[in-house]
């Protein structure tokens, strides 16, 4: 394999991770406010189809992306209304929506199957794009991939460094305490569910207009991405940086599955295709292993200095879900 193949391959990994990042960070924002939106998988498919259809019909890429985000927000609005206002089970509603949106996407998408449509052009950044190695990997992408870079840091800063972000954490953690501090809990949950939904929706057109351009119905290869994004949200500890790490890891494993295939003829191709999923789970479990009791016991037997360093590392990796996740807030 030449260096150039590897570099373009890695660039492809970054681009392929962009939609997963949108979805995982959208879900992170939603869950940070205390709402679980399980509809991501179907929503991404529906948004991909709708984004493609709009882009084909209007020949306008921006409208395509906006259509995807709108679909995401609309589906999120259903989740928000039924869980926040009607106090129904968020899990049940989200799950049903996930299945329904998927089938809706296949059904409504029939007329657009296999059409050739517009594709978001790549936009090398001057100067940065000319840098050796780094330029090829990072700065010869399309605008959505750049957006994914920005989103990672923007979301992280928002959640952990700003006043509204602290309140967002508080609303998900202990809505009563956030209420005492002046937060309008249910309004905040609506807003974050809708914004998160729009981001998850954006993952759709990112596929159908860029990463896997076009709409191919059931063989589009998008089914399952939403569930992966949900898993990344959880293993990512509701932290955008760690969620991004998960998304890049997933994309990297998928790419390795493809490029390693010719050099490992003994292994059936299916194994390499499926391998990213269990590998992903294993890696993320390792990251979260500090939550278990036996690790603490093993730690206790280590010498003082080593124990301190490891304990600190584990504590920084440890994450627990927002305490009020999935429970409606009732003001007295």
């Amino acid at each position: 394999m030449s260096l150039e193949t590897i570099l373009t391959g890695l660039a492809g990994v970054l681009a392929a991770a962009a939609p997963v990042i949108f979805a995982a960070i959208g879900e992170t924002l939603t869950e940070r406010s205390g709402v679980i939106n399980l509809s991501a998988n179907g929503k991404i498919l529906l948004a991909a189809m709708a984004g493609f259809a709009v882009a084909v019909s209007t020949n306008n890429l921006l409208l395509g992306c906006l259509a995807g985000m709108l679909i995401g927000s609309l589906v999120a609005a259903v989740v928000a209304f039924s869980s926040i206002t009607l106090r129904q089970s968020q899990v049940a509603v989200g799950f049903v929506l996930a299945l329904m949106c998927r089938d809706l996407a296949y059904f409504l998408g029939n007329p657009y199957m296999g059409l050739s449509g517009p594709r978001i052009p790549s936009l090398p950044i001057p100067i940065l794009g000319d840098l050796p190695v780094i330029g090829v990997i990072f700065f010869r992408q399309d605008i959505l991939t750049y957006l994914s870079y920005i989103l990672i840091f923007a979301a992280w800063i928002w959640i952990f460094k700003t006043r509204p972000g602290l309140m967002l954490q508080g609303v998900g953690e202990r809505p009563a305490a956030a209420f005492v501090r002046g937060a309008n809990v249910n309004r905040m949950r609506y807003i974050y569910t809708l914004v998160g939904g729009a981001l998850i929706g954006l993952a759709g057109p990112t596929y159908s207009l860029s990463v896997k351009a076009g709409w191919k119905g059931t063989i589009s290869g998008l089914d399952g991405i939403g569930w992966i994004a949900l898993a990344i949200t959880i293993f990512g500890g509701w932290n955008p940086l760690r969620a991004a790490f998960g998304a890049y890891l997933f994309a990297l494993l998928q790419w390795l599955g493809l490029v390693l295939q010719p050099s490992l003829p003994g292994i059936p191709s299916q194994v390499l295709q499926v391998a990213p999923f269990p590998l992903m789970i294993l890696t993320l479990l390792l990251v979260n292993i500090g939550n278990t009791e036996w690790v603490e016991r093993v730690l206790a037997s280590l010498p003082e200095s080593a124990r301190h360093a490891i304990a600190r590392l584990i504590r920084s990796l440890r994450a627990s879900p927002p305490a009020s996740l999935g429970t409606p807030f009732e003001q007295e």
């Binding site: 700003t162 006043r163 602290l166 309140m167 954490q169 501090r181 002046g182």
Partner: protein, 491 residues
């Protein structure tokens, strides 16, 4: 700030929680609000702090009428409330808790806020680490954080709901000192409690509520019997302490050491005999909880031997201990003791193995009714446990306890309960001791409870364990010093 409540009335369905209450509190005073559970103290304070709105009545702050629609509204007017279980965000840092909800720029200047925080806490000799996570703090420290936060937001009136529950004796002293300092600065302190001694020590004035009505006010020097009569309508008295007749060995510890990665305890040797009550005193997190949990088999000791009824159970698990008559009552009743959503009857079915595949509901109903009557639980067999008051939940836990028990281990058996419930719980426990020969080990942060009911006392301080002290010859002062880490050289 002068606070005036005029004709406050609030009903919940058929229950009148506050009935035409008039109260005037002057700036610079510490006003006690006394009353047993359900007397309407919390409702009144929730009205003042904006949590709920009164059906009728006026609130005047410095003579001006205000309408308080939410807690955020209240703090805007300068009224802040410290809840019994501090309303903070446990997984977040101290400084993040401090900032959340404060007005200011979208990205706060952390350095500046930390400087301000430290300056504020220095006034009261608090030593909170701004970067510590709140879930690592004790309840007392979390209270300190909330007080600082409310002051920072400009609170002129500070309402404290049962603030001395669950904090150590030393933290209580510090809290009282802080409140006196604040009152001297001209702040208005409203101190809600059912603990007579706290009110007596601290308050400039006391208002007593009973069944939603203000039954009277008092000023120092307080006559305790008078206050008690106002609270309950009748006089309850603490029973005198009885000497126990020790029986056979219930629990024997031989050089037991316990460790987790924060703390190392022991080696401890202890012999607890039947009918004996042993109190475990110490600041929260001094090792008493670890010790108690080791005695239940939940934590394995790293060295030493443990014998229950003369049988060696070293290294065995919780279920083996349970089979040998060791029962354990955790402090968090709803989280670890009871199953929210299940009725009393279902709890009795779960606790008692009836045998057979199908549940005998008629039999269960009968058992539930017997137990409800026997333990004086205010509830029906189909009441869910979360609908019961704290005292009734505790009685339920006692009723669920396996009999016969040779060793009863309890965390904070009467935390958050009023005097009557406390007396009742202890009369039940004492009965167990004398009739069934159970030995009791209990943790409490209430020194009076420890001295009143224990035969012997173990004091914990940063993992160190005192030799058993004879409760009859120990004073509050001695105990307080040991808990605070003084006088350990004598051992």
């Amino acid at each position: 700030m002068n606070v005036e409540l005029i004709g406050i009335r609030k009903t919940f369905g058929p229950v009148t929680a506050n009935d035409n209450i008039h109260l005037r509190i002057l700036s610079g005073t510490i006003q006690g609000i006394l009353g047993e559970n359900g007397a309407g103290k919390s409702t009144l304070m929730k009205v003042l702090s904006g949590f709920i709105q009164a059906d009728q009545g006026l609130i005047l702050l410095d003579g001006k009428e205000v309408k308080i629609h939410s807690p955020a509204d209240a703090i805007h007017y300068g009224v802040g409330m410290l809840h019994q279980d501090p309303l903070d965000f446990p997984p977040m840092k101290v400084i993040e808790n401090f900032i959340a909800g404060s007005p200011g720029k979208i990205i706060p200047n952390a350095k500046e806020v930390i400087a301000r925080f430290n300056e504020l806490q220095r006034q009261f000799d608090f030593t909170l680490d701004p970067q510590a996570h709140v879930d690592r703090l004790t309840v007392g420290e979390r209270q300190q954080l909330e007080i600082l936060r409310l002051l920072w937001l400009g609170a002129q009136v500070l309402i404290l709901d049962e603030p001395t529950t669950g904090i150590s004796a030393l933290q209580k002293l510090k809290l009282f000192e802080t409140l006196r300092k604040l009152a001297a600065q001209g702040k208005t302190i409203i101190f809600v409690s059912h603990k007579l001694e706290d009110v007596e020590q601290l308050c400039h004035r006391v208002a007593v509520l009973r069944r939603g009505q203000l039954v009277g006010e008092a000023t120092p020097p307080y006559r305790i019997d008078e206050l008690v009569q106002m609270m309950f309508g009748k006089v309850v008295s603490f029973g005198g302490r009885e000497s126990y007749k020790p029986g056979e060995m219930a629990l024997e510890l031989k050089d037991v050491s316990i460790e987790d990665y924060r703390m190392r305890i022991g080696p401890v040797s202890l012999q607890a005999r039947k009918r004996e009550v042993i109190g475990l005193a110490g600041m929260e997190g001094s090792g008493q909880l670890l010790f108690l949990r080791a005695c239940t088999g939940l934590i394995r000791p790293t060295a030493g031997r443990m014998l229950v009824n003369g049988k060696d159970l070293t290294g065995k698990g919780y279920h083996t201990f349970l089979k040998n008559g060791v029962v354990y009552m955790p402090a968090s009743r709803m989280e670890e003791g009871l199953v929210p959503g299940c009725s009393l009857m279902e709890h009795f079915v779960l606790a008692r193995d009836q045998g057979g595949f199908f549940v005998d509901w008629e039999g269960a109903q009968k058992i539930a009714q017997e137990q409800i009557a026997g333990y004086n639980i205010h509830g029906r067999p189909d009441s869910t446990v979360e609908s019961l008051s704290g005292g009734n939940q505790q009685r339920t836990l006692l009723a669920l306890m396996r009999t016969p028990a040779s060793l009863i281990l309890m965390e904070h058996p009467t935390r958050g309960l009023d005097i009557e419930s406390t007396l009742y719980i202890w009369s039940l426990l004492k009965e167990r001791c004398s009739n069934q020969g159970s030995a009791i080990l209990f943790i409490s942060s209430d020194l009076d409870e420890i001295l009143q009911y224990s035969d012997r006392i173990l004091v914990f301080f940063a993992g160190r364990v005192s030799p058993p002290l004879d409760a009859a010859s120990t004073t509050v002062d001695q105990l307080g010093q040991l808990i605070g880490g003084r006088g350990w050289d004598a051992f």
